[in-house]
Symmetry: C2
Subunit: 572 residues, 2 copies
């Protein structure tokens, strides 16, 4: 690991603020952007008007907090550890419960890449369930629930904005299954966040190495990078070497929930031979990852044997990696999907750690032609019944969705998901709204993601410009995250989420005032905005830009007109 | 002018095809992409299946036609000249009708930048009207109408796809005003194209210098560049020096319709002093530009004195350059908008050249806060009555729209536009769906543009990544055009435009077959796709990519599964 790098995140004109809880002894981190004054010239007199700072939802965690020393070889502060301990329903184990975890601890050849600090895992005491859903259903408002209620409001009440998001409302949404707080008890470094249609739309970013590229240091850097630009959760989709160690480094250093597809690692354990996959290996992988702190698992339990013939009618077959693996396993063995046949046991394991289930859409359409087809909806219907089973075990559930869908077929996806899956939060990959733009699929899919989020999808999984072409690098991650922050925020505005417009209005006012730096500082990517601006401007105090030149600036002309009109009024 | 550059446009694996007319002696140019064969391994036997070539709508004109010698100092072939002559309703003038044009011809100091070939202008014979709308209302199917009918169908009938787009249907749409063919008789170089909600969604690109940057050669290069990537029309929004000569170079070398905002040049003629603007100067500018061949003018005739007080409630005032200029003029002089008071005279001038009117939305919202406000809809209502007036003069009309609109307010824009403007085609700038992403406004607006086009907007005006920050360079133009081609095509799919899916399906099939080169060749930007692919691949015959590596390729696994299932079936 190249640990010399400075992982500190600095946003311009910003400071970290901490909002205290009222129920629990907690502090919720946010980002406050300071603005400069508006200067007006009124009848040749200079008038100065103060602009209030703007508080933003902040996914960068301790990396932007000057109070915290960042050392990625030690990991982030374990924020939630005291909360978990206070509940007195968990035990710290003396060893790992997974064979594989213990093996990896013993091996000398992984010494150099092993995360330096060993945290023994925690699990529920026998007979206990430790999920946020369980607590909510028992009427408890946990620190996690209060945390997300405060976090979602980003101090809007200071701006006089009313919000229906309260700790009690959060509890109700969790209890009903309409929202989840992914919060594995073994990932206490993560700051609580909530995923549900009544909350801010969230975005997930995928990172992870493949057999052909990328090392641990690169993946940790991408994880922090994703948090910098606004990623709300992170999926580690590694399929290459040293998956176990890579994941440990990522989890210990990531302030947002981390998801995985455990099947990928299970397949690596049998050297990529699908026929050798078994429930036993998969089960051990689940326990291994639960004890590392994975906050949610994608599990393709809804892809049944009976649906496979429906795939033949497709143009691009199965495009979900997990889906295609389990479909092959079923075809080879002539047996039913073992995620499905062992689903209750999976739920029992997960409920002891509060790892959520993201029910995978192994049959999501992989092209416009296959959208909304019989295979896709057959699987969705199975996901609905699995949701009920998981909820009975107090496991928190997400439902994954497509994929590739033309715009006129997007709404049906949400309608059917809500109907079949009892209001569990929907989590979609895009969807891409056309197939003809490889190299630009962050855009083809941001168009679809904004719309599906407007219809009620709670979290959208980003797509980078490299989708369909190669593994994304850091700049691709940035492009994907920003495109998806745009889609999510556009949906928040369209859903009239309380206070969503504050940032837009503040930025627009800065634009109208020619407060260029404020405009950049309030934007999703201040560095890019400044870079583009500098390409064509000599100074940043200009009252016009190169787009229009001095004579043709509409905003300047509006001001002139208003001054002129005011003057005329005053003269009367 | 640096005329040594090679302006030839070459698309990979593509050839120019020419589809003959049935009514008129015309040839419609299209692009045909050749595909490689699909190779199947069935029971160890290799089977080869031919893939039909795909025909694409082509905006690149003669630049991609090997039959044509390109010489930008001579201009493009004058395709429509014989069609116009055959109608015998125009005269070739012996001189320019505009004072300013004649002055510019005399000046020695512009010799070096003047376009080398002088084309004397053509106008309607006295008492004649020469607009496509006029011909359509008289029951004539012009060569232009047949051309666009063939062009829109891109040989879909060869694929067995039925389309309701026929020359007679085009005539009806033009006669009703629901579509327009911008086709100034002095721009015979342009290939006819149609803008209307029943046709393929079109995109406009803006180029043009400002007082602070960009020369003639750069603008001509941007114009051709825009056509290469798929721009359907081009607006020259120059506001700097030598606007007259720059425009001449652009029009003579552009195979798509060219639009302008004549007010910009009129303001330059009075050295940027708004108070000195007059109807007389503006009128001469209209004639100057009609005789150069501008195909449509943006005219902000709907912004009336009575609407100005409504602007005070806004966060960002007036953001239309033309709107803010005329609003200032009205405020200074205390008079009504002269575009409005002289509107009938404007229509008379334009009908003699078939220059269309794009009724400008001077009061379009410039931020999320101001969307769908009283000022905006007050102006739209005036545009509706002006549409009726223009139609009475047989002038073809577009209606311009916003701007900045959150997603939940987009549909109302189209509904009101259709209601108030009698079904005249809508032409919107984006809209941007959030204000918080300067540097990425091609994305914030592609999200809105795709939706508004799905609702019936006929043409969307591109936005580049530099919007709000500076004048776009060539790469920004490319990024903007491709983002808007995506939005337009996504809308075509959502509207179930006949045959729109052919390209998606062909590309998806290539993807499933690992025919990488076919995938790239069919994409909107083959160069970018190939560049991204090459970043992480050693060869292009791989049956997997770096995203998933060899074990995790879903498409490969689907094929394995299907082979396995077929084998099992055969064994039974």
């Amino acid at each position: 690991m190249s640990i010399k790098k400075n992982f500190r995140i600095i946003y311009p004109a910003s400071r970290k603020v901490h909002v205290p809880g009222k129920i629990h002894d907690i502090e919720v981190s946010m980002r406050e952007v300071a603005l400069t004054d508006t200067v007006l010239l009124q009848n040749n007199e200079k008038e100065t008007i103060r602009n209030s700072p703007v508080t933003l939802y902040d996914t960068s965690g301790p990396y932007s907090d000057p109070r915290v020393d960042i050392d990625i070889t030690r990991g982030l502060p374990r924020l939630r550890e005291p909360w978990i301990e206070n509940r007195k329903d968990t035990v710290r184990l003396q060893d790992f419960s997974s064979r594989y975890s213990n093996e990896r601890q013993q091996r000398a050849d992984t010494d150099s890449i092993r995360f330096p600090v060993k945290h023994l895992p925690r699990r529920a005491q026998p007979g206990h369930v430790v999920t946020q859903r369980y607590y909510a259903s028992r009427g408890m408002i946990t620190p996690e629930m209060e945390y997300v209620a405060i976090r979602e409001n980003t101090r809007n009440e200071d701006m006089g904005i009313r919000s229906d998001i309260t700790p009690e409302m959060v509890r109700q949404e969790i209890a009903s299954g309409h929202a989840i707080i992914p919060a594995n008890i073994n990932h206490p470094e993560a700051e609580p966040m909530i995923i549900g249609s009544r909350f801010l739309v969230k975005i997930n970013t995928n990172i992870g190495n493949s057999a052909l590229s990328s090392g641990i240091d690169e993946e940790v850097e991408k994880a922090i990078w994703s948090c910098k630009w606004g990623g709300d959760t992170l999926m580690d989709l590694s399929t290459g070497n040293n998956i176990h160690e890579t994941r440990e480094w990522i989890i210990r250093n990531t302030p947002v929930p981390v998801g995985t597809v455990p099947l990928y690692q299970a397949l690596e354990k049998v050297n990529g031979k699908i026929e050798d996959l078994s429930w036993d290996i998969y089960r051990d992988t689940l326990i291994e990852q639960c004890e590392q702190g994975v906050d949610y698992f994608t599990i393709h339990a809804g892809l049944l044997k009976q649906s496979l013939p429906l795939v033949k009618k497709r143009l691009t077959g199965i495009v979900s990696r997990g889906g295609s693996i389990i479909a092959n396993w079923m075809t080879i063995h002539g047996e039913e999907n073992f995620f499905y046949t062992h689903f209750e046991e999976i739920c029992e394991i997960l409920s002891a750690y509060d790892t959520g289930i993201s029910l995978g859409d192994g049959l999501r359409p992989g092209c416009i032609h296959d959208a909304n087809d019989a295979a896709q909806f057959a699987e969705l219907s199975v996901l609905g019944s699995l949701t009920t089973t998981a909820w009975a075990h107090h496991v928190q559930v997400l439902i994954e969705g497509p994929g590739h869908v033309p715009m006129h077929k997007i709404k049906k996806n949400v309608d059917e998901q809500v109907r079949l899956c009892h209001g569990a939060p929907f989590y979609t990959l895009g969807p891409l709204t056309t197939d003809i733009a490889p190299g630009y699929d962050h855009i083809t899919s941001a168009i679809g993601a904004a719309q599906i989020a407007k219809e009620g999808t709670a979290m959208i999984c980003y797509v980078t410009p490299k989708e369909h072409l190669g593994l994304p690098n850091k700049e691709d991650v940035r492009a994907g995250v920003v495109a998806y922050k745009i889609a999510a925020h556009a949906a928040d505005l369209a859903k009239e989420h309380p206070g969503a417009f504050i940032r837009d209005n503040a930025l627009s006012k800065a634009r109208f005032d020619f407060r260029w730096k404020d405009q950049f500082n309030l934007s999703l990517d201040p560095e890019k905005a400044l870079e583009y601006y500098k390409e064509s401007h000599l100074d940043s105090n200009s009252d016009h830009c190169t787009m229009c030149g001095p004579h043709f600036c509409a905003m300047k002309l509006t001001k002139n007109m208003q001054s002129c009109a005011n003057l005329q009024e005053n003269e009367k």
